[in-house]
Amino acid sequence: MKVRSKLYLLASMVFGVMVIMNLSLFWAYYHIDEALQRDRYIVGVLKSVSGLSHQLRSVIDHGEAQAFVQWQQEQDGLQLLLTDMPDFSPKLSGLLKSIEQRNRGIVSLFQHLESQQINKAKKQRTRIALHLADKAFFQMEAIREDGFHLLALSRAEIEEVILVQAFSFIGVFILVTLMMSVVAVRLSGEINRSLRRLIRGLTVAGKGAFDTEIPEYSDDEIGELAHHFNKMLARLKTTTVSRDKLRSLVDDRTKELQRLTETDTLTGIANRRYYDYHLAEHIASSKRNKSSLAMLMIDIDFFKGYNDGYGHDAGDLALKQVAESISKILPRETDVVARFGGEEFVVVMPATEISGACLVGERIRLHIRNQGIPHLYSEVDKVVTVSIGVAAFKSDMLTEINLLKQADAALYEAKKNGRNQCVVHDDGSYRVV
């Protein structure tokens, strides 16, 4: 059932309850009014009987002619009342019939009283007349008794009617309210459960879990809402995957770009940019770890002559071969070789003492020489050779400036000493390795 229909149902039930309550009230009013009408009728009869009794006393005690007339008028009034009775319960109508019967008796007695000349003075009346008079009085008394009994019963009936109406009203009210409560709680429970499922699903989806599917149990508006949310989540999921891919692509491209900007295109090793960017990191790491950092400055001997003599293409090839040779010799992955510029290379070796750096430097020199790349334009040898400057500092003395400066100074010494050698800056002096 649609939510709207459920709400209409609830509203209809409230309206229905109001109608039932109003009908109950009208019904109660009708019955109570009927009972009150009967009560007023009985009071009218009693009043008439009281009037008759008074007139009878006047007739019997005083024998007044006027009293006869008035008595007859009262009697006519009572007869009229008794013939126009409203509907009474069998119990009450029995008492009214008794009043009627006794009244007929009085009328008959009165006729006999008249024939007995009741209008004579009391002491002149016959025994019969006196007895008939007595009889008339006790008949009147009997009528009055019936009348009061009737009134008491009528009042009791009114109380009963009121009580029944009141209890019926309360009973109907409680019953209908209970039924409505059950229906309202059931309907609201259904709506609430549907909304809760929706909220749970949206909460999970809000945290990025677009794989969530909100249950579509109800076929109402909330179920429709859940269905459309699921469609939206599916689209979001698709979009999120594309974004992630894009991000991944961008990341890859960024890394590629970074790699390209930090790589020497000719030799494929790191370039000066990489050396500048990452040296500070190596220095900081060495300080943190309290280890030394070594640097090798490597320069190809008489490379200008090589370029001039063999051409730039051969020169590029030689550079590549030298870079490859250096990379091959480096013992660890953490050791970095970068093309410093032109025919100059720098090697940074973390956690390396001076002796280790000298060893590596000498091996590099020897390996390059042993490559046997012809270099007829060299004044040192007939093959390509390199000069290497080695410097190493412990962490407490380490700065970017003094490391590079010392390595470069050592290279200069190597060049000055005749090239094709590895010179180390060691404790303020230079020596060949």
Binding site: P90, K91, S93, G94, L95, K97, S98, Q101, R102, R104, G105, V107, S108, L109, H112, R127, I128, H131, L132, D134, K135, F137, F138, Q139, E141, A142, E145, F148, H149, A152, L153, A156, F167, I170, G171, I174, L175, L178, M179, S181, V182, V185, R186, G189
Partner: protein, 331 residues
């Protein structure tokens, strides 16, 4: 507890609560039955007793009642006084005669009134157009009964004395034969004997119109010094009669059927007399006044030898009826 189960439980608790609010009576276990007996006069006046017996209302009220049918309230009164039965049904006239004789009875409630139960039947051929023409005739009457008082009243209204006619004492069941055999020329008696005589003799007998002359009541009586009756027996009996009277007012057709069955009567009779009887339980001052009035009459017009009117208030016990139906007692 699940919310649905809780609500359902509350709903049914509400229904049970309504049930208790309306105080639906659950049946209670019936008490042990007390055995009593009643002499009931065979007349439509005794309808509440017959209906109570037929519907087992006596048992409902804890009584095991043995009914003994008699002809007339005087016979019933005599059986109670002689101790043959515990209860009896008698007219106020019988109670008046009994009181004047100093009988040891107690009236615990009137249960019917009628203004046309007692009638005067006259043999056709007498050409009686008024009561005066009965002077010197033989008239059958049940002495010491309502018909005795009724006839006296009828005669007095025509300025006649009882001595102006010849009264022949007989019970109502003998009156038909007496009329047929011309042993009497008229009879004063009550239903259903009037109907039976009229039915049997048809045009040979006339019923003189006497409605409204005499309104009688029928009463439940017991012996004042009755031993062995439990204190609440009167209330139980009256309660059964009260329920029977309620049934009669609500189910007249069924009540008439019961009466026909018990008295062996037909629908013609019931249709003829039913509207004359008003069944109601009461004990009013007007009854006392009526009996006193009848007693003065009986003394003044020589129906009895007694000269003193007793205190008829002493022959009434209003306590049991007050417990059953307070509004029915007006002393």
């Amino acid at each position: 507890m699940e919310k649905r189960t809780l609500l359902t439980s509350l709903f049914f608790a509400g229904i049970i609560g309504l049930f208790l609010v309306f105080k639906v009576d659950l049946p209670s276990t019936s008490p042990e039955l007390k055995s009593v007996s009643i002499s009931v006069s065979r007349t439509p006046l005794s309808a509440p007793v017959y209906v109570a017996d037929e519907l087992a209302l006596f048992q409902v009220n804890g009584l095991d009642v043995r009914l003994t049918e008699v002809v007339g309230g005087k016979k019933s009164f005599e059986q109670v006084m002689s101790g043959q039965t515990d209860f009896g049904t008698s007219s106020d006239s019988v109670l008046m005669f009994g009181g004047l004789e100093g009988a040891d009875y107690i009236n615990i409630g009137s249960f019917v009134q009628a203004d046309n139960d007692i009638k005067l039947l006259v043999r056709e051929g007498l050409h009686v157009s008024s009561i005066r023409e009965l002077a010197g005739k033989r008239i059958g009457v049940t002495k010491g009964s309502a018909s005795d008082y009724f006839l006296s009243l009828l005669l007095a209204l025509e300025n006649m004395q009882v001595d102006d006619v010849e009264l022949i004492a007989m019970s109502p069941d003998k009156m038909l034969d007496a009329l047929e055999q011309n042993l009497v020329q008229a009879v004063a008696t009550w239903e259903p004997y009037v109907f039976e005589i009229k039915k049997h003799m048809a045009d040979k007998v006339d019923v003189i119109p006497t409605r409204n002359i005499y309104s009688l009541t029928f009463n439940l009586i017991t012996k004042k010094t009755k031993q062995g009756l439990a204190s609440d027996t009167y209330e139980r009996f009256l309660s059964a009669l009260n329920q029977a009277i309620a049934f009669i007012s609500e189910h007249p057709k069924q009540s008439q059927d019961i009466l026909k069955k018990r008295l062996g009567l037909d629908q013609d009779f019931i249709s003829w007399v039913w509207s004359d009887y008003l069944y109601k339980l009461s004990l009013n001052r007007s009854l006392l006044l009526s009996i006193e009035n009848q007693a003065r009459w009986a003394i003044d017009f020589g129906l009895v030898d007694s000269r003193e009117i007793p205190d008829f208030n002493e022959y009434i016990n209003k306590t049991p009826l007050q417990k059953i139906k307070k509004n029915a007692v007006s002393f």
